[in-house]
Amino acid sequence: MAVSNETSELKAGTGAAQAASGAKLSALFAGTMGPLIGLVLLCLALALTTDTFLTVRNILNVLDQVTVLGIMAIGMTLVILIGGIDLSVGSVLALAAMVMGYVAYPDYLNLGVPVGIVAALMVAALCGLVSGLLVTVTKLPPFIATLAMMSVARGLANMITDGSQIVGFPDWFTNLSIVRHFGFLSVTVGLMIVLAIVFAIFLNYRATGRSLYAIGGSAEVARLSGIPVKSLTNWVYAICALLAGLAGIVLAARLDSVQPSSGVGYELDTIAAVVIGGASLSGGIGSIGGTAIGVLIIGVLRNGLNLLGVSPFIQQVVIGVVIALAVATDTWRRRRQ
């Protein structure tokens, strides 16, 4: 017994030592080597084929372009980690944006943008809470609960202004996404980065964050270990929706307008970003680092193909192929180990 264990300990030991050396650096990117390789290859290819991709301005553009997706993907990571799914993010984004516009805009309630933002975030979080309760109390499958919310939130978003958009916010608000402080960082991009770091730390170093992994690994084990599975699940859906609402506000600042049709189809993009980043739809596996990579793969790919002037139809084919390849790198790498 002792002997056989020692040998296995030896094997494990070397592995652990290797891991420990890079641990500090790669903690946040744990299990994301595969997608990371995919991203690096993609960037390399674009740097070689265009002379515009690898410029500071373009990289800032890409960051700009992924803010909305990035913020939503953070919330979606939590939901997918606990083994759920949220199809309503795009609709909640639209609803929150419309609430913001309605509350803030002179022609409607005219209470100012700050009040509008607070109202929007509250409505968004409420949507998430309802989804969460549908899952935990009514025991609906998350797919159905959030599908229902997707439809309801979209309808509500449309009803606020009978389908019309609201254009024109104060300059300070739109400047949040336009003015690049210190020459490079807009407030919205900064917000995304801060949120990513906060949630990465939360998931890695806080007990509650680790509990989400436990719930995703097995809700029953988590329950038996004394983790409050239901209330955490409600929280996670609420936070995911809250972040979708925040993304809606960022989008409003970015476009200087809100419209009930925004965010259509974003749910698939968001889920794709999280899964490309190495998360498992059955829960328990995933990380913010991985999601960040997934978001960047999608963002860089679209930006790069536009820079290359690829026609839209060929873009679709290329995007499909590259996504498959990026994720396949990961599975190949893992199998060789």
């Binding site: 265009t50 515009t52 410029t55 301005r57 373009n58 553009n61 700009d64 372009q65 909305v68 449309n158 009978d162 389908g163 019309s164 958009q165 609201i166 254009v167 024109g168 739109t174 996404s177 336009i178 989008l251 970015r254 476009l255 200087d256 307008s257 419209q259 009930p260 049709s261 925004s262 259509v264 679209r302 930006n303 536009n306 820079l307 002037g309 026609s311 839209p312 139809f313």
Partner: protein, 287 residues
């Protein structure tokens, strides 16, 4: 001859402001006339629209106002309605092979020509230009590209250096596409967005890129919200389609056809070239 009491309105996609404006106009005007309107929204899918027209027919509507969904107009909804003896007023798009009893639309080719001509002239007849198209292959995309191309023939010094296509005519697409186009071609001084949403997105991208020269931006449609932006100088020119007018005309046409009158096969409306100078009247009262 009889009175129209109940109209069916099959809208292509209410998420597009243009269609939503027509819908609101139809509903408001019909209410004035004491006519009931049942509205259905195909959300851009022609198969859904066929089902919806079936449901409208089941409801015994007196006439159908049909704004075709999908890339180009499908024939089946018209045929379905006609088979049930219900007259059809096509708006915005008409189907080859199964036209409506009358067709109300904007002369897109001509109006796009006007827009591009204006912007080219403003830019001094020279410079680099990029075009942000709508969804590739759809009727408006094809017509607006065609009209703009005709206008540009007169300006040999304007070079179209980049073109990208949006998928859903959305503002955030306009933003991203413009940003990438500006990145690839920093000297661009003219942008034509084939819809106001795309132009507004492009304007925002220009603002972010903050180039050292003026960039002229043109849109199309004359969305209510876009007109306000035009007034504030966010972008430079658009073609205002007569959404309210088309809505009213559609209702009137329906009433007349039901009453047995014969209408011309096409009732083309002009879209008015709109700039900062003449925008105020349209904001006051959308045509």
């Amino acid at each position: 001859a009889k009175d129209a009491k109940k109209l069916g309105l099959a809208v292509a996609n209410l998420q597009a402001d243009f269609f939503n404006q027509i819908k609101q106009s139809v509903e408001a005007y019909a209410k004035e006339k004491g006519i009931e309107v049942i509205t259905v929204d195909a959300k851009g899918d022609s198969a859904t629209q066929v089902s919806q027209v079936q449901d409208l027919v089941t409801q015994n509507i007196d006439a159908l106002i049909y704004i075709p969904a999908g890339a180009t107009a499908a024939t089946v909804p018209t045929k379905t309605a006609k088979a049930a003896g219900i007259p059809v007023v096509n708006v915005d798009r008409n189907a080859e092979g199964a036209p409506g009893d009358t067709f109300i639309a904007t002369d897109s080719v001509n109006s796009a020509k006007g827009v591009c001509d204006y912007i080219a002239k403003q830019a001094g007849g020279k410079g680099e230009m990029v075009i942000i198209h709508g969804q590739k292959g759809t009727t408006p995309e094809v017509d607006r590209s065609k009209g703009c191309g005709e206008a540009l023939k007169a300006y040999p010094d304007i070079k179209v250096v980049g073109e990208l296509w949006s998928d859903q005519w959305h503002q955030d697409e306009g933003f991203k596409l413009a940003q990438d186009l500006l990145q690839a071609h920093p000297n661009v001084s003219i942008i034509f967005g084939q819809a106001d949403a795309l132009a507004l997105g492009a304007a925002q991208a220009v603002k972010v890129a903050n180039p050292d020269h003026k960039v002229w931006i043109a849109g199309f449609d004359g969305d209510v919200a876009a007109l306000k932006a035009l007034k504030d100088g966010v972008f430079d020119v658009t073609a205002t389609q007569q959404t309210q007018g088309m809505g009213r005309l559609a209702v009137d046409s329906a009433i007349k056809i039901v009453a047995g009158e014969k209408l011309p096969a096409e009732q083309l409306q002009d879209a008015t070239l709109t700039t900062k100078d003449n925008v105020a009247q349209f904001i006051e009262k959308h045509p």
